[in-house]
């Protein structure tokens, strides 16, 4: 036929590359469901969140994006109906006690009385709590679900984002070092 012999090797070569990539992918232990984050090193979106109040009685002050100026903030989205939020509650409480860090919360799609009861029962570590009753604010932060936690630097930039509950290893290996780095 006279076609270059190399041509007949092409399918094998392509397949070898694809198979090697697939083997690498499988053995890397990479979790295909891990979600990417887009807002890292970008300024936090501008917003104003009303404070949590039950039947007209304010329970916590709200805050806006201006609040992030000149302080290191941990912003935590939570809700009383969210089981993993309870799982991470001790770690969130621990974060609130780290020197030089302000912990604020956004109560996401939650009835205020249920949120208040949850906080009363498990403790309220938040300096301020804004509400997002309709889920309008969440997409501004690129939220997938609750819980989700952001570390925001003194110039209002998002330094770290964590999807899902903050476990003890996440706290120790991810948040505390990042906070250290921000302090310097």
């Amino acid at each position: 036929m006279g076609s270059p012999r190399l041509l007949y090797l092409a399918p094998l070569a392509v397949f070898a590359i694809v198979a090697a990539a697939a083997a690498y992918y499988l053995s890397s232990g990479r979790d295909p469901r891990l979600l990417p984050s887009a807002l890292i090193d970008k300024p936090a979106p501008e917003f104003t969140a009303q404070g949590l109040s039950v039947a007209g009685k304010p329970l916590a002050r709200g805050f806006s994006s201006a609040f992030f100026e000149n302080r290191i903030t941990v912003l935590n989205f939570f809700a009383s109906w969210c089981a993993p939020c309870l799982v991470e509650h001790p770690q969130i409480t621990a974060l609130s006690k780290v020197r030089g860090v302000t912990l604020v919360g956004i109560n996401y799609k939650n009835k205020p009385d249920e949120a208040a009861a949850w906080l009363a029962r498990h403790g309220n570590p938040y300096a301020r709590i804004g509400v997002d009753p309709t889920g309008d604010l969440a997409p501004e932060f690129g939220l997938y679900g609750v819980p989700e936690t952001f570390l925001i630097g003194p110039r209002g930039r998002i330094r770290l984002k964590h999807v899902g509950p903050i476990t003890v290893p996440v706290l120790k290996d991810k948040f505390l070092p990042a906070i250290q780095a921000l302090k310097q």
Binding site: S27, D31, G135, P139
Partner: protein
């Protein structure tokens, strides 16, 4: 390796099973649509181009996940505020990253994706043209030679008689 992979999956399953509000919604709910039919049409078209991030291969227009619903509302809010289609998509793109775009952006990572098949078609056409010119230059050969045809028939007959 197995244990390492299983744990995060379990955790994520936990989040997404319980991490959404305890009420279920339908894809495009009554009252969600904009009054302006033209604007709503645009919103639907945009919705079909954005991925429902917590679903499996569904657009926000198809999904009944609460996140999809929130994003549909956000798209409509942006359109009402006067965004163009491109601006509304960009607004969500900056917040959720490339993963949200069902039409992947054209950049150096995706050149192969976007242009690879077209390039393959082009190369194949060139190859065929080259073969054609060469075979024209050579004297034509009767493709199904009498010998080959006879052999084929002999084989077929032989096999047939075997039964």
């Amino acid at each position: 390796m197995r244990r390492r992979a299983v744990l995060p999956i379990l955790l994520l399953a936990l989040i997404f099973s319980s991490g959404s509000p305890p009420f279920r919604a339908q894809a495009i709910e009554p009252g969600e649509a904009l009054k302006d039919a033209g604007l709503e049409e645009r919103a639907r078209d945009i919705g079909r181009q954005l991925r429902c991030l917590v679903c499996q291969n569904q657009s926000i227009d198809d999904s009944d996940a609460p996140l999809a619903r929130d994003l549909r509302r956000l798209v409509r809010k942006r359109l009402v505020a006067g965004d163009t289609d491109r601006e509304a998509i960009a607004y969500i793109h900056t917040r959720y990253g490339d993963f949200v775009l069902l039409r992947p952006p054209v950049d150096e990572r995706t050149w192969l994706l976007w242009f690879g098949p077209a390039a393959a078609l082009f190369v194949a056409l060139l190859f065929l043209l080259w073969r054609l010119r060469r075979s024209r230059a050579a004297p034509p050969v009767e493709a199904l030679s009498a010998e080959s045809a006879a052999r084929a028939d002999a084989l077929l007959r032989e096999g047939g008689d075997e039964r």
